[in-house]
Symmetry: C2
Subunit: 223 residues, 2 copies
């Protein structure tokens, strides 16, 4: 019951962050069930008991890993969207920010896809509500944007919920492709442009796209 030294406390936080990082990489590589606490302890260079003293159980550790990252993702996406006024701009921000985040967190991407994108299999049905609520809050913002776009006549009249899922799925699908193809970075910007264009204007060739025609050029003159 004594005061914990500031330094001591700082180290503690340091350790926690370090363990979370290691756990993330192992969970991402092995999945929840194959990953063992020993493995994590070993790679983190702590003893088993230490891990358990920081996080109560394997599941808690796992949940913490996911929760931390999902929060970061959602926060940055919603922040970017909030800072942009136009409907179309918000949509572009959504695509851009989300994909950039996933691109910078390829390790995490596996967990994300397995747990957030394809929930309710294996363990995920017991992911803390917090995580799902957080993620859903982001989707709600997106739905709202689309809905307002429809009201304003910028978007066609479609079911905003369905469109939200489609856009969310579209971004996930492309991010997923980064995992499988072993290429390095190059695809990020290209993929963002492709998706944005595809989502806004579709695959068919048109005469005069009323709103924006600027990014079409970009798509064509490279690759």
């Amino acid at each position: 019951m004594i005061k914990p030294t500031p330094r001591r406390e700082r180290e503690r936080q340091q350790h926690i962050r370090h363990i979370l990082d290691v756990a993330e990489s192992i969970f991402a590589k092995e999945g929840f069930f194959r990953a063992t606490m020993r493995q994590i302890a070993q790679k983190a260079e702590f003893a088993l008991g230490t891990i358990y003293s920081y996080f109560g159980s394997k599941r808690q550790l796992y949940e913490k890993v996911i929760e931390t990252k999902v929060n970061k993702l959602v926060d940055s996406v919603t922040k970017e969207m909030a800072e942009t006024p136009s409907v179309q701009g918000k949509l572009e921000k959504f695509i851009h920010t989300k994909m950039t985040f996933l691109h910078k967190n390829l390790f995490f991407l596996r967990l994300y896809l397995a747990e957030v994108d394809v929930p309710r299999l294996d363990i995920s049905h017991s992911l803390p509500k917090k995580v799902h609520e957080k993620y859903d809050s982001m989707l709600c913002v997106l739905t709202d944007v689309i809905w307002r776009g429809i009201q304003k006549g910028v978007f066609k009249p479609m079911d905003a919920r369905v469109v939200t899922k489609a856009l969310d799925g579209l971004t996930n699908a492309l991010a997923l492709s980064w995992l499988n193809s072993a290429e390095a970075h190059p695809s990020l910007e290209t993929d963002i442009n492709t998706i944005t264009e595809l989502f806004l204007n579709g695959a068919l060739v048109h005469q005069e796209p009323t709103q924006n025609s600027n990014d079409r050029k970009e798509i064509c003159n490279e690759s």
Copy 2:
């Protein structure tokens, strides 16, 4: 080394199919790791040893479940596409057939998403090559269709590979939403239409998409 009676043999096949069905439902509900062979044996009303005599191991059983269904999916999708002449028609067939199949196989859908859509986590990296090859063959057909569409000037010049992933992901994402929302059937046709429209024409409102598309042709003939 004796002749297996025809009836006997028929029963055997019957048993195998029955076990596969049961296994599918359990794997889908629990995931590979949580599902136990005892559980499957019990629900299938066979003894453990019997299951092992039919399929060698848990993993083999699991792989058989997935392989069987993926084959059916891919076969029906490619067949439908082959029977349709026009590029746009083939695309619509892809969306329609794939989504209808997944809609009719909601149980399987979980496994499908976890193993085929988000591979390499957990067990999937050891899914038999056969399965991935089969699935990829379907995607190749799709890529080829898109590529030809671009050549003909029906589609904008985009990276056909990326568009393939996008379309595949789009359909997966919508199918996924059926799992989460507990609604019954109604969304299938609506979702198919929404996706098709979205993919072909995008979300933005356009003026008058007239037929003429020759002016873009020259851009395409690289790649």
